[in-house]
């Protein structure tokens, strides 16, 4: 007979849990006590264990689903068991429908509130896809802002909401009114992405001793070179080149000459790895965090190839459709805040890279040439280095080479 595996109550304040990860496949043979999934509660990510032996007949919840306590996560049983009736009992919102002999203790623990999204919020403009996604993720459309035409809630808004899951903790009826004078706060669920960012950057900052080098690059020739390249790009029908693309290309060329910078300090393996290839990660901000899509073999690729690839990956990153293999495994990373007018900043190394390049804005500055003040263009580049693998002089030499390439872009052709 099929057995329901329900969302367990794991903490005393828990009302619902988010199924973060499945640990077993459908069809797997399970023994009581096996961990079948991980669930994120309001306090922690915890293991869900099976209480019965059997075959995992169906994974009802999908990763990311928020289920109330008692909601159906999975069905266990013997292969071939009919699970339709059981599924029907839980149909709708994942919580079991009233069963005649439900014990009172159980009944008490099941919250009566149904997810707010059960009835589409009337008067809210949302695309059909957004409505479906909201229903699947238990989001209330009524509290979301739409970014589509006439404020329509569209896919990207739902994705942003899922990423923040800011509203999953709202209890619809618990505290209908708040004191006007209350010092209120909004509890924002820490997303998996934020957790990952937190973990990796903490690890980097705590384990890799950072030091920082800054140069001010004369960009006059780079500006002219880029303008000429883009005139050609238009004529050839190839992708337009951004300053960032130019820097990616120049950094790749400089890395080729300074392999010590294109490296990793791997404590566990007891080795420093010098990579024969140059894969440059480019940090892209996406609403709730950032990802670093990687341009592979950037030293070999042409500028227009780099430009096209970067633009496509950035678009996919913003659309949350980047595949994991597209943002994993860089050997060097750049981060550009120039578009926000940031003059200079230092970045935290993206492990296991040895260095990260922080790119500032191109500024119009007065420069003194032969005693005369003339208008010039300058850009600050800051290199954060992991001192375990890159020494001061090594980093400085790399940065100097990079500066040379950008100040005389023609030398990139050498």
């Amino acid at each position: 007979m099929a057995i329901a595996v329900e969302m367990p109550k794991m903490t005393d304040t828990m009302e619902e849990g988010v199924l973060v990860q499945w640990m077993v496949e459908e069809g797997s043979v399970i023994a009581a006590g096996d961990v079948i999934a991980q669930v994120e509660t309001d306090k922690a990510t915890m293991d869900v264990e099976a209480y019965d032996d059997g075959v995992l007949l169906k994974r009802v919840a999908v990763e990311g689903d928020a289920l109330p306590i008692g909601g159906l996560i999975a069905v266990l049983g013997k292969a071939g068991d009919d699970i339709a009736e059981l599924l029907a009992r839980y149909a709708g919102n994942g919580a079991p429908a009233a069963v005649g002999h439900a014990d009172t203790e159980h009944a008490e623990t099941v919250p009566s509130a149904a997810p707010a999204s059960e009835t589409p919020s009337s008067g809210v403009k949302a695309s059909p896809l957004a409505r479906r996604m909201a229903a699947e993720h238990g989001l209330d459309l009524g509290v979301l802002a739409g970014s589509g035409t006439e404020g329509r809630i569209v896919k990207r808004d739902i994705e942003a909401a899922i990423a923040s899951t800011s509203q999953t903790l709202k209890a619809p009826d618990a505290t209908p009114r708040q004191m006007a004078s209350a010092r209120s706060f909004e509890a924002v669920r820490i997303t998996q992405m934020r957790k990952t960012i937190a973990r990796r950057l903490s690890q980097s900052k705590f384990s890799a001793p950072h030091f920082y080098l800054t140069v001010d690059v004369a960009m006059e020739r780079a500006v002219i070179a880029r303008r000429q390249l883009n005139t050609e790009a238009e004529a050839w029908g190839t992708h337009r080149i951004s300053y960032n693309d130019l820097i990616t290309k120049a950094a790749a060329a400089a890395l080729r000459r300074h392999p010590q910078v294109n490296a990793s300090y791997l404590d566990a393996e007891g080795e420093i790895r010098l990579y024969s290839y140059i894969d440059i990660g480019i940090a892209v901000a996406i609403g709730e965090g950032l990802v670093t899509p990687v341009v592979r073999d950037a030293d070999i690729k042409s500028l227009s190839e780099i430009a096209e690839e970067t633009a496509a990956m950035a678009a996919r990153a913003r659309a949350r459709s980047l595949q994991p293999e597209e943002f994993a495994g860089s050997t060097f990373t750049t981060s550009n805040l120039g578009m926000f007018g940031i003059e200079a900043f230092t970045a935290i190394i993206n492990p296991p890279n040895a260095c990260i390049l922080a790119i500032g804005a191109i500024r119009d500055v007065p420069v003194v040439n032969d005693g005369a003040v003339t208008p010039g263009k300058r850009m600050k580049l800051s290199l954060s280095c992991d001192h375990r693998v890159v020494d001061g002089a090594t980093g400085a030499e790399f940065l100097s080479t990079l500066q040379g390439y950008l100040e005389e872009p023609l030398t990139l052709l050498l």
């Binding site: 695309s127 035409t149 569209v154 678009a315 659309a319 459709s321």
Partner: protein, 327 residues
């Protein structure tokens, strides 16, 4: 691969099928001694003789009906209309006879006949010479409707159409007859009727376009790519039966769709596509299905008005940006 003009691809398909099956013949205005109003059938009368490449008087109703009768009695006619605009006087033959007699006879007769000719806008010819007929004819069960955008599809699909045992309307284009393209030189090259072609893969927006509109779709996709959005472009190739699976799969991926259709908007192919998308994948839509069509007026003569009348790549690009919520 051989590089052929579209007219040459159409001709090659007819020649191969006439060599393969002597029940196939070509009939129409100026197809024989004049060598075809658009030189499609150039040289064919010399190859096959006046008994199989046959000039007609200007009697579309008459020779369309003649072809249908001949098909009922075992032949496989190719009936050329100089343009589909001139076939309106033969419309009764197509919709009442070619489409329906098989059904009304309980399946006793087959109609292995192809009606072909250029469809849609052909420049500054004013209103009578710029009609798009695909939606009209596709609304009649019993007919099949193909509308091609390039030489390769022209050859492969026309050969399939000639071999098909049902009446097929094959829509070409005056503007595209001179267009060159690679054509498979595979022995006996055919393309199945009813299968769309995914001309360009992408995940940002689905653009559907057939015949000349296909090229507008491709141009718009290029512009979108420059903005960092990869459009998926579908050339349905066959209008009836339509490859809904291809469209649905694509819209499930992109969550939005723009249709480019040279027809006037009311009850056009784009109308049906839009209906089917909302019926089949409503919950996958992140934006309303939009379309770019000719204006809802008769085609004008003046050059600027005619350009304004037709759907453009720019209109298509702009509409795609709308459904992507970019503007």
């Amino acid at each position: 691969m051989a590089t052929l003009q579209l007219r040459e691809a159409v001709r090659a398909a007819m020649i191969e099928e006439m060599e393969r099956d002597e029940d196939v013949f070509l009939m129409g205005e100026e197809v024989a001694e004049y060598h075809g109003a658009y030189k499609v059938s150039e040289g064919m009368q010399e190859m096959f003789g006046p008994g199989r490449v046959i000039d007609t008087p200007i009697s579309e109703n008459g020779f369309a009906g003649l072809g249908i009768g001949a098909a009922m009695n075992g032949l496989r006619p190719i009936i050329e209309f100089m343009t589909w605009n001139f076939a309106f006087v033969a419309m009764d033959q197509l919709v009442n006879n070619a489409a329906k007699i098989r059904y009304m006879s309980g399946g006793q007769y087959s109609f292995p006949i192809v009606f072909r000719g250029p469809n849609g806008a052909a420049g500054q010819l004013a209103a009578t010479h710029n009609s798009s007929v695909e939606s009209i004819y596709s609304s009649f069960p019993g007919l099949k409707v193909i509308s091609i955008s390039n030489p390769d599809d022209a050859k492969g699909l026309l050969k399939s159409a000639i071999r098909d045992n049902d009446p097929v309307l094959f829509l070409e284009s005056e503007f595209m007859y001179g267009m060159k393209g690679e054509v498979s030189d595979a022995e006996d090259y055919t393309i199945p009727i009813g299968k769309a072609r995914i001309a360009r893969e992408g995940d940002a927006v689905t653009i559907i376009g057939h015949n000349k509109s296909y090229w507008r779709a491709m141009e718009a996709a290029e512009q979108l790519a420059a903005d960092g959005y990869e459009a998926e472009v579908i050339d349905p190739r066959t209008i009836r039966p339509f490859d809904w699976d291809a469209v649905v799969a694509s819209v499930r991926k992109t969550n939005r769709c723009v249709i480019v259709d040279e027809s006037n908007p009311f009850a056009s192919v784009s109308s049906e596509i839009a209906y089917q998308i909302q019926a089949r994948c409503f919950d996958d839509l992140d934006a309303p299905v939009k379309r770019v069509t000719s204006k809802d007026v008769p085609a004008p003569y003046a050059k600027n008005l005619m350009e304004f009348y037709l759907p453009s790549a720019e209109d298509t690009y702009r509409t795609c940006r709308e459904v992507l919520y970019l503007d």
